[in-house]
Symmetry: C2
Subunit: 486 residues, 2 copies
């Protein structure tokens, strides 16, 4: 096997979130482990990826208590109960017992149903009903697939859509590169539509219409539209009206809609810009749109849960043909089942403690603490970027990232070119070397030609945030001074 | 989306292990839940899939203790330690602390390195050295990828190999259908080679040579050979000499070798037929074979661990080009990381308690109990099949399955045809309806033309085994009597 003999699509795949910057940051972290003075900073700060617990966000206590009890059910045995009760609250014990009783197997060590445990899919269905309102029926649990994070659900659906090399899928630019990477891997075509930076990264149907027309004129068989809402890397939250337009567009153009809603809880101005699920808006639009096919994705990795490591998530299918559903089941079965600890976390995320439960006050305090802090940090980081020379940054209405635009001096662009880098890569590498902060160049997400961005999470701990921002500011000043045009 | 517009490869995928029989068995289980008298038996016995804990195999206590502590590290806090120590042995506490300290993140809720946690890959490397002997260097942890069960590793490697529709991969017949399913999905060609039922499902290089010649004559670009050792569904264990021949064959034919070794612990006559890893045999063969590329797969789902639900496993790369390795890392990174509870189980499986550890006696007792019982049940089941009319069954030298051959009366074959089924499907469906036992027809694995088999696990609990076998025997007698040729 050599690069030249491999599946040629493999080499085309690009995934910047864990690309050159991330690899270099790992090498630096290893250096520091060996010699604390090897770099002009004491630690790498991984702002390249939305990985909250890596940066010390605390897991939700109740969720982990239940997880521990399901791992080791001997703790629930009568002879251990008195001791266990000193370490675990009663509602965690009850929830663990319920999960173990209803999972259809005597242990979390068994393969489950390939769509995921039925009782958990029922919990998800109830969650969706509560979220979207009682006006609509509870989803059928058979339309829900538990997945390995949201990523595997997205990849499965894209794999279904791409039937030949001219199939196109509309993706936002900038976008989370899972989409472009998967399209490269499966041999489909990304049909880009641009988000409007000047209007808070809004989505425009005019842009969608132009984009699809251009693609079809080139012979692309455009079959689906991906929307990331709240946006990644851009953080925008779509308005109800905008979502209705998008649904109408998909309906008119006979596109399948893929709604990546993994940041649905990370919405920082819910009064002005609340989260609406595409499912809800679609169902509100009534019978006329009952043939619009929708796949919605959610994850345990984001929100205030931040349980990235266990790879939990779900995929909900709305208005999908029953024969297609049968094929989805079959393909899921080849991988046997999603991992059970991830499935259990989906249950906990979608059915957390409620008022009156023993664990509710702590749950409420923890989730509110995380949410409020994310909101504050989001503002601090976008403000900081906006105060830097040549930088403009839309506030993050949602998600975990800011995506500031940087106007580089000509001299910096020339220096980048000489180093064989794009200007945003050159800048991000310089930032990493100077500060230990790892961000991702905008070129990894796509951006309008001639514009340059970086994506940074706002996940460093709040008590470290002033230092974090000072570091960025100092670096930026020095960088701009060094490459100042004369 | 309709069946006709989907990626046409999707429909071609077949995966019998969770196919019609499994779906029907689930429906029957639902019936029984509603009405205990709805079927002539009280429970479905899922012998369709190697899922030990579904059939009440107990998880290894030490493993689950460590898993629980890593889930809820508050148990390790000084104020809780005295209480925790009443519930958990000291070595489980120490192991959990070590895992948490070395994982490179403050929590198991963080995404890890895309290849898996480095300290765990080091543990795997040590395990491989201990298993294969000190004659060879410890593998480089960078050549090890932790995976989502073995399946995802297999799928990744096949995805790399299949660069165009004429790429062929040699697979055994009968085979575990992950291989044929993945080849269908990725658009490659399965190049079958037959295992020899008359010689304990042995592998013959003559057969391999004929098979590859026939495929190449038809224009297939044969690139790799899959070996499952111990075999699934056939249970055979390869001899050292046979493995050397296979390696020579791959070397001569310039094939990449994929060694599926997930049943390496399930070897029931280790004195006569010990397990050897392909890595060890390859390294023993010396410099001449240092360009033979080998991918080896292992899993937490089988052995005596049986932790199917957490989807843990690893892939080891031997003699793989560094540019290909870089691409493997990149593709892994698109899925972010394997789930952490699965990674932790790989650590525990490859570094269990040792003599002198507090938990060793219990670990030893549990694993020996499971192993010895599997061995007894394996013999009981193959003996039972051999005592049935028209049935011959090789003993399982390894793995978790027997694959008896059934010689059906002409009348049964005709009845199957009238029902639109293959004879082995017809038989397995009749068995399910009569006994609740779910086995998989040999046609799901491939078999020589004109022969018919079923695959059954020998995982029902030993105390239920007499009843289980009685049920099979009675069913078989009645089936054969009903369709007796006149």
């Amino acid at each position: 096997m050599h690069l030249s003999s491999l599946n040629p699509r493999i080499e085309k795949v690009q995934y910047a979130v864990r690309g050159e910057l991330a690899v270099r940051s790992e090498a630096i972290a290893e250096d520091i482990k060996k010699d604390a003075n090897s770099h002009p900073f004491s630690a790498v700060v991984a702002c390249n990826i939305g990985n909250p617990q890596q940066l010390n966000q605390k897991p939700i206590t109740f969720f982990r208590q239940v997880a521990a009890l399901t791992e080791y059910p001997d703790l629930l045995a009568p002879e251990n109960r008195p001791t266990t009760s000193k370490l675990f609250p009663e509602d965690a014990i009850t929830r663990a017992e319920t999960l173990l009783r209803d999972m259809g197997a005597p242990s979390i060590g068994a393969y489950t149903h390939s769509q995921g445990i039925l009782s958990i899919r029922r919990t998800v269905a109830d969650f969706i009903r509560r979220r979207d309102g009682d006006a609509f029926p509870t989803p059928d649990p058979n339309n829900i697939f538990l997945t390995t994070g949201a990523s595997s659900g997205v990849q499965t659906v894209l794999g279904f859509l791409i039937g030949h090399p001219d199939v196109g899928v509309m993706i936002p630019i900038p976008q989370y590169p899972l989409y472009s990477a998967t399209l490269s891997l499966y041999g489909g075509k990304g049909v880009p539509y641009f988000l409007n930076e000047k209007e808070d990264w809004g989505m425009s149907v005019v842009e969608l219409t132009e984009s699809i027309a251009a693609a079809r004129a080139k012979g692309t068989d455009v079959r689906a539209l991906v929307v990331i809402n709240p946006g990644n890397p851009t953080g925008q939250c779509l308005s109800r009206e905008n979502m209705q337009e998008i649904i109408r567009f998909c309906h008119d153009e006979r596109l399948v809609l893929l709604a990546d809603e993994v940041y649905q809880v990370n919405v920082y101005d819910p009064d002005q810009k609340p989260f609406h699920s595409f499912r809800k808006i679609l169902l509100e639009m009534g019978e006329e749109f009952s043939d619009l096919e929708l796949f919605s994705f959610h994850s345990t990795s984001k929100g205030v849960v931040g349980e990235c490591g266990r790879r939990g998530g779900y995929l909900e299918c709305t208005h999908i043909d029953s024969q297609v559903m049968a094929q989805l089941y079959k393909i899921s079965s080849v991988s046997l089942c999603p991992n059970v600890p991830g499935q259990l976390m989906v249950d906990l995320m979608t059915n957390p403690p409620r008022p009156g439960d023993v664990s509710y006050p702590q749950y409420e305090k923890e989730t509110k603490g995380i949410f409020d802090s994310l909101k504050r940090r989001s503002t601090m980081l976008s403000d900081a970027f906006n105060n830097m020379e040549g930088v403009t940054c839309n506030p993050a209405e949602g998600a975990m990232y800011v995506f500031p635009r940087i106007c580089f001096p000509k001299k910096a662009i020339k220096a980048a070119e000489e180093a064989g880098k794009l200007p945003d890569e050159f800048y991000a590498l310089a930032m990493l070397d100077a500060t230990g902060v790892c961000v991702i160049p905008g070129s990894g997400f796509g951006q309008e030609k001639g514009t340059w961005h970086v994506r940074s999470t706002f996940l460093p701990r709040e008590e470290l945030f002033d230092d974090f921002i000072d570091g960025l500011r100092n670096f930026h000043q020095e960088f701009m001074a060094k490459y100042k045009d004369e």
